[in-house]
């Protein structure tokens, strides 16, 4: 199984003795759209925090393309190809939509402080490249007309797309989407569901998606892991997970047709 992009094994997290994740194992193949479902408090966001480096697990490993991430800090993981969005967005509200998406591009440019203070040619060319790349991503996400709007002024639905564009600007190998449908109406959620496979193709990335919108997760994902009380209940295709007795019992109530 050397071809796995993301491999999570024996992952456990506890806060103050309270176990949030317990012996979580799964792996994601390159190019997959992988979903994680589970009710509130199942540990979905904690799982993402472990993969992106915000939370240090108490046991177990997270590996990217076979390399254990260990104690690698958040920004190094970003350079290794791990990108994520946030449930609560965390946009750079003092910047415009375009500038939000420029940040990950510009942090990858080698450029001196002095060049920036003097507005030297290297500084301007770097900014120009960042503008071009950011505009491309805004176009892809249908945000072009909002490029110069302060990011905090947009409605939540559009802010979610800015967050995704910003994550894509890091050129991720692995894109983690934390509750991308939260705050979206049915129409916007459907729109998001149509965009994800397109993004995967166009940007050659792998997507792991956490949401409690069952419709979205079961319709766009290749495989799904069901999480409950910090444990993996089952991993399988949407059809398998949808009919798994424990999943049905614990939080679907009745099977989604």
């Amino acid at each position: 199984m050397n071809s796995t992009l993301l491999s999570v094994s024996g992952l456990a997290v506890s806060f103050n003795g309270l176990s949030v994740l317990e012996d979580v194992n799964f792996s994601v193949m390159p190019g997959e759209i992988f979903g994680v479902i589970g009710p509130n408090g199942a540990g979905k966001t904690t799982l993402f925090n472990c993969i992106s480096g915000v939370v240090r697990p108490s046991a177990g490993t997270v590996s990217l393309a076979g390399t254990p991430l260990g104690a690698t800090p958040i920004h190094r993981r970003s350079h290794l190809g791990v990108a994520r969005t946030f449930q609560n967005l965390n946009l750079f509200t003092g910047l415009t939509v375009l500038e939000n998406v420029m940040v990950p591009v510009e942090v990858r440019e080698q450029r001196g402080l002095l060049t920036d203070a003097l507005r030297g040619p290297r500084s301007r060319f770097a900014a120009q490249r960042a503008v071009e790349r950011a505009r491309g991503l805004l176009h892809l996400l249908g945000l072009s007309e909002h490029a110069d709007t302060p990011a905090g002024d947009l409605p939540v639905g559009l802010q979610r797309r800015v967050d995704i564009a910003r994550a894509l600007a890091t050129r991720p190998r692995l894109l983690l989407l934390d509750e991308p449908a939260s705050g979206l109406d049915a129409h916007e959620t459907a729109d998001l569901g149509r965009r994800l496979p397109v993004l995967r193709e166009r940007l050659d990335t792998t997507i792991v998606l956490v949401d409690h919108d069952m419709g979205l997760v079961l319709s766009v994902c290749d495989r799904v892991a069901a999480l409950d009380f910090g444990r993996i209940v089952t991993v399988g295709t949407p059809a398998e997970v949808r009919t798994h007795p424990e999943v049905v019992a614990s939080y679907l109530g009745t099977a989604v047709s």
Partner: protein, 335 residues
């Protein structure tokens, strides 16, 4: 981007600065000796306010130790010139470098702390400077230094000193404005707006914060060097905690988000007492007026006076000018 156009805007900016310096110097020429001295101080204080524009306005970090960082610049200049026999022009860059190094050390707590707690820690650091570091060795007694010579310029002339200080302030302000519009400026803003999102985007937040402290300390140190130049004597009492608090208060009042606050804040700090005097009030009430102004501003215009005025100005302008008719007909829009 058109290189010729860019060169032209750059030339235009520099000419604007030169024109500003000449005009201000002509104006100061008509001042009395005391007002000339205050105008020169205003330029140096402006650099101190500018140091907070970078640190607080751009990077979102709090500091009550800016006057002490200026003190490092001034005291090191004084020590090198008065005691070690250095030329002022050799001492100045070394003094600024010393401020930068001290500033980075002062910034270390910011790697772990934020907001109020960071403010309290820098306050404690400022006290440490006042009560201990500035009393060490020759620093305690202070220094006296003569006006240095500069080929072609007579620095003994108050007007020339003023022009030099103002030019330094405006050039520094231009560099800071450039920085804000550049990639570094956007990375500062990312750290200010959301540290976790900045990290996730790949920003080395530790490095960015220390960079902000270094740039800020460099500007504060430069302010100290200018103060040593204009005042001619350096005493640790001029760089105490209360002055630090005043600088932070004035920067907040004017709005740390705007580079123009440096000029406005410098003028306010230097001429505040004078204005009170003209209004028939004792200059001792300066701190009371500042405090009351700060409270009023935090309620009415939390982003600061200058941004508020700017917004009011553009709102009035928008009301006066008829709104342009936007032609959306594709047939008449020329490419």
């Amino acid at each position: 981007m058109n290189t010729i156009l860019l060169l032209r805007t750059r030339l235009l900016r520099l000419s604007a600065i030169a024109a500003g310096v000449v005009l201000a110097t002509l104006a100061v020429n008509g001042f009395g000796a005391n007002d000339r001295r205050l105008a020169t101080l205003a330029a140096a204080y402006g650099l101190l306010v500018l140091s907070l524009v970078v640190l607080t306005g751009f990077a979102g970090q709090v500091s009550f130790v800016q006057a002490q960082l200026a003190g490092v610049g001034a005291l090191v200049t004084g020590w090198l010139v008065a005691n070690m026999g250095w030329s002022f022009w050799a001492a100045a860059p070394v003094a600024v470098a010393a401020s930068v190094i001290v500033g980075v050390v002062v910034g270390l707590p910011a790697l772990r702390l934020q907001g109020l707690i960071l403010g309290v820690v820098t306050l404690a650091l400022a006290l440490g400077f006042d009560a201990y570091l500035f009393t060490l060795g020759p620093f305690g007694k202070g220094f006296t230094l003569a006006r240095p010579a500069l080929p072609g310029l007579n620095l003994a002339d108050d007007r020339i000193t003023f022009a030099v200080c103002l030019a330094v302030l405006l050039l520094a302000a231009l560099a800071v404005a450039n920085l804000r519009r550049s990639g570094t400026g956007r990375l500062f803003a990312a750290v200010r707006d959301s540290e976790v999102a900045a990290r996730t985007a790949g920003v080395d937040v530790t490095r960015l914060k220390l960079t902000a402290f270094a740039v800020s300390a460099g500007l504060a140190g430069l302010a100290g060097v200018l103060l040593a130049l204009t005042v001619g004597s350096v005493e640790k009492q001029s760089f105490g905690l209360l002055f630090s608090v005043n600088v932070t208060a004035v920067a907040t009042l004017m709005g740390t988000g705007m580079v123009g606050s440096a000029v406005a804040g410098g003028l306010f700090l230097a001429f505040g007492g004078q204005v009170l005097n003209l209004a028939g009030l004792d200059p001792q009430y300066f701190n009371i007026v500042l405090g009351a102004g700060l409270i009023a501003q935090l309620i009415a215009a939390p982003e600061g006076l200058l941004p508020k005025l700017g917004r009011l100005g553009s709102a009035i302008a928008a009301k006066r000018a008829p709104s342009p008719v936007i032609d959306t007909n594709p047939a008449t829009v020329t490419p």
